[in-house]
């Protein structure tokens, strides 16, 4: 990534408060955060990592079909997730476990999906507007844009009351920027001036394909071509992400239109537990990024402010409990009933599905008799 790009960073790699010039317009939004608030962000990140590591272990031990690790992307996810207001809707891709947690999704629900028990696992209406995961790359960007268009038509945004005005946040990856859907979403958003923030987590890889194959220009710059602001932020700096996302979401809810954030981060883990990253990337690259660990950075900052060891140990212990609890509950999960397969194909009865369900039940019953 060209070093001349104006990345917004507030905490330097060693945790010192050292805003870059492009961070100036945003620093005020986080300047007032006290140690308690910063510890809250740290706790969110540590919890996210604990759940992620536990889920990856569960997969390796055969308890999950698949897991897409969020390891290394905690600041990008927690900073942006915590920048939303309760009325905002969030459209994730499939790796935003940190955002899910801060919007109240039970980690067990994330894992139920990846265990192959359900296609989604939680009710967005009950989880802070955190929509279901979308596995087809780029699709959700259009859904988010349509939802944001609806918020305008409903006059649920840009009324001048930031406590009520809605904004929409949509997540996607560097790979997704190549898809038609993503580009069409940017066109529609711009055309309808939607109250929306496009949050691009550039974790530098789309499975084995480096971001350079998707784009020869830094991705935030594409925003200009679509007619919206684009901001590049250090995605491993939770304060910078929080500040920029909060500012642009508030712009969106105030009627100032959509924006694109490119958060520079790194997928430290494998793409999924089915992937072997040693086939395509170097140990040196990985080492560079683990040194920029987002949790470590905030922790160093807090240490610099005199926060004592016991507080960190408390955060770690609480996260370890969360992970242990997840493991315990995963091992008690029951397989779904076969009726789940037929129950929700349509909202109204469909004779073919009904007939097949009846046939299946009869068949299973007769099989039981023979056995």
């Amino acid at each position: 990534m060209a070093s001349t790009d104006p990345v917004v960073r507030i905490l330097s790699h060693d945790g010192a408060l050292a805003p870059t010039p492009p961070a100036e317009p945003y620093v005020d939004r986080v300047a007032a955060l006290d140690e308690q608030a910063l510890l809250g962000l740290l706790t969110d990140m540590v919890r996210t990592r604990a759940v992620d590591v536990e889920a990856a272990n569960l997969q390796r031990q055969g308890h999950l079909a698949l897991w897409a690790p969020s390891y290394g992307q905690e600041a990008a996810q927690i900073g942006s997730g915590r920048a939303t207001r309760p009325q905002d809707a969030i459209f994730p891709a499939y790796r935003e476990h940190g955002v899910a947690l801060v919007r109240g999704v039970d980690p067990l629900d994330l894992v139920r999906m990846m265990r192959g028990l359900t296609h989604s696992g939680w009710d967005p209406a009950e989880h802070g507007g955190f929509r279901q995961y979308t596995l087809v790359i780029g699709s959700q960007t259009l859904h988010a844009t349509g939802y944001a268009m609806g918020a305008q038509f409903d006059k649920a945004t840009a009324t001048g009351d930031p406590e009520r005005d809605e904004a929409v946040l949509v997540y996607f990856g560097d790979g997704a920027t190549a898809q038609g859907d993503t580009n069409e979403a940017l066109v529609f958003a711009s055309s309808y001036n939607t109250p929306q923030v496009f949050f691009l987590q550039n974790n530098h890889w789309a499975i084995s394909v480096p971001v350079e194959r998707q784009s020869r220009t830094p991705l935030y710059r594409r925003a200009a071509g679509f007619g919206m602001p684009g901001v590049q932020v250090d995605g491993n700096d939770v304060l910078a992400v929080l500040a920029v996302t909060g500012a642009l979401l508030d712009d969106a809810r105030a009627g100032r239109g959509p924006a694109l954030i490119e958060a520079l981060t790194y997928r430290v883990g494998a793409h999924t537990t089915a992937d072997d990253p040693t086939r395509y990337r170097t140990a040196e690259e990985l080492a560079t990024w683990t040194e920029r660990d987002p949790i470590l950075r905030l922790r160093r900052h807090l240490e610099g402010r005199g926060v004592g060891r016991e507080l960190f140990e408390g955060v770690d212990a609480e996260a370890a409990d969360l992970a242990a609890d997840l493991r315990r509950r995963v091992l008690t999960l029951q397989d779904p009933p076969v009726s789940l397969m037929f129950a929700h194909v349509y909202q109204e009865a469909h004779p073919l599905v009904a007939a097949e369900q009846a046939w299946q039940a009869e068949y299973e019953a007769s099989y039981g008799e023979q056995a």
Binding site: A65, L66, M113, M114, R115, G116, L117, T118, H119, L135, V136, I137, G138, G175, A176, A178, Q179, G180, D181, A206, I207, S208, V209, R213, Q214, A274, D275, R279, Y280, D335, P336, V338, L340, M341, F342, V345, L352, V353, E356, Q357, Q360, Y363, E364, Y367
Partner: protein
């Protein structure tokens, strides 16, 4: 005849390698097919041998992959596109059906579009949504596309080469549940042409018809039935468009009964076409209606339910019982 034992995944790799050696215009394109060798490793090692101009790790865009393959074909290339999983072909569907399938016709035959689209398909892998689908009907329904699917390593090795040398677009469905079991591959010559269907087990009481991942299920069903003194014939269609009717009809004329099976939902699926085709061609030989054993007409279920969704040997034999009861 020299034969070597290898799994389908390796046979496809060897077939691609040989096609690339034979014709410098053959090139591969797809997501993660180069450095990674594909998520199923079908293209493993080909980047190292043939270089970046012939093994393209493309940007993440299926419409882009198929659309640019069409452009490459216009200049005389023979692109072989990999779609990473069955459920991710849809962003490329417009380019496949509105363009690739129709261009030869639009140009009144003045130009060929020898593009192969490889699609790992089907279930049995315990994966999450969009990774286990069987979308073959959409393509077989589209005039202008040839659609084939190997069920064995030997067919994989030869059919991929035959597909690449076809002057027409070929949608090449690879049964991912069959990627890893080994089988004998004859490296000297193909057993049959690309579009031939084939009797893979002989029998007299009923004919089981399937393709791709279902063939091994049908063979297991026939084996179980034999233990109970019932003789079932199994036909591997191999080609879904065109269908090679002759072996199918000859078999049904002999047995008088047919059961057709696939993982895809039944409604308007390949089974419907096969049943209609048999009825039209061998009506007076039939002792029973042609029965279908298929996936249910529901979205592919969460992995923990796939065993109940997918037709297995027992469901096939249940249909055989019903056919024999007529």
């Amino acid at each position: 005849m020299t034969t070597t034992s290898m799994p389908l995944a390796k046979a496809l790799n060897a077939g691609l390698r040989r096609a690339m050696e034979d014709d410098p215009k053959v090139l591969l394109m797809g997501e993660d097919i180069g450095r990674l060798g594909g998520v199923f490793r079908i293209t493993d090692g080909l980047l190292a041998t043939f270089g970046e101009d012939r093994v393209l790790d493309t940007p993440l865009a299926e419409s882009g992959i198929v659309g640019t393959a069409i452009g490459l074909a216009l200049r005389g290339y023979r692109p072989v596109c990999e779609i990473q999983f069955d459920g991710f072909i849809w962003p490329g569907f417009d380019q496949i059906t509105s363009q690739l399938a129709k261009l030869t016709n639009r140009l009144e035959g003045r130009q060929s579009f020898p593009v192969v689209i490889r699609v790992p398909y089907g279930g049995h892998i315990g994966s999450i949504e969009h990774h286990s689908e069987s979308p073959e009907t959409y393509f077989a329904h589209t005039p202008g596309l040839r659609v084939v699917t190997p069920s064995t390593p030997n067919d994989g090795y030869w059919m991929i080469q035959q597909a690449i040398s076809s002057p027409d677009p070929v949608i090449f469905f690879e049964p991912k549940s069959r990627y890893w079991p080994k089988g004998e591959v004859d490296l000297d010559q193909p057993a049959v042409p690309l579009h031939a269907s084939r009797v893979v087990r002989t029998g007299t009481d009923a004919t089981l018809i399937g393709y791709g991942p279902m063939v091994s299920v049908l063979l297991a069903a026939a084996e179980n039935a034999a233990a109970e003194g019932r003789s079932l014939e199994v036909v591997d269609l191999r080609s879904l468009s065109p269908v090679d009717w002759e072996p199918v009809v000859a078999s049904v004329e002999k047995t008088g009964r047919a059961v057709v099976a696939h993982e895809a939902p039944g409604f308007l699926g390949m089974g419907a076409e096969i049943a209609a085709g048999i009825t039209e061609r061998a009506f007076y030989s039939l002792e029973a209606p042609v029965l279908r054993v298929t996936g249910y007409d529901v979205p592919y279920p969460p992995a923990k339910l796939e065993k109940l969704y997918l037709p297995d040997a027992d469901r096939v034999l249940d249909a055989v019982d019903r056919a024999l009861a007529y």
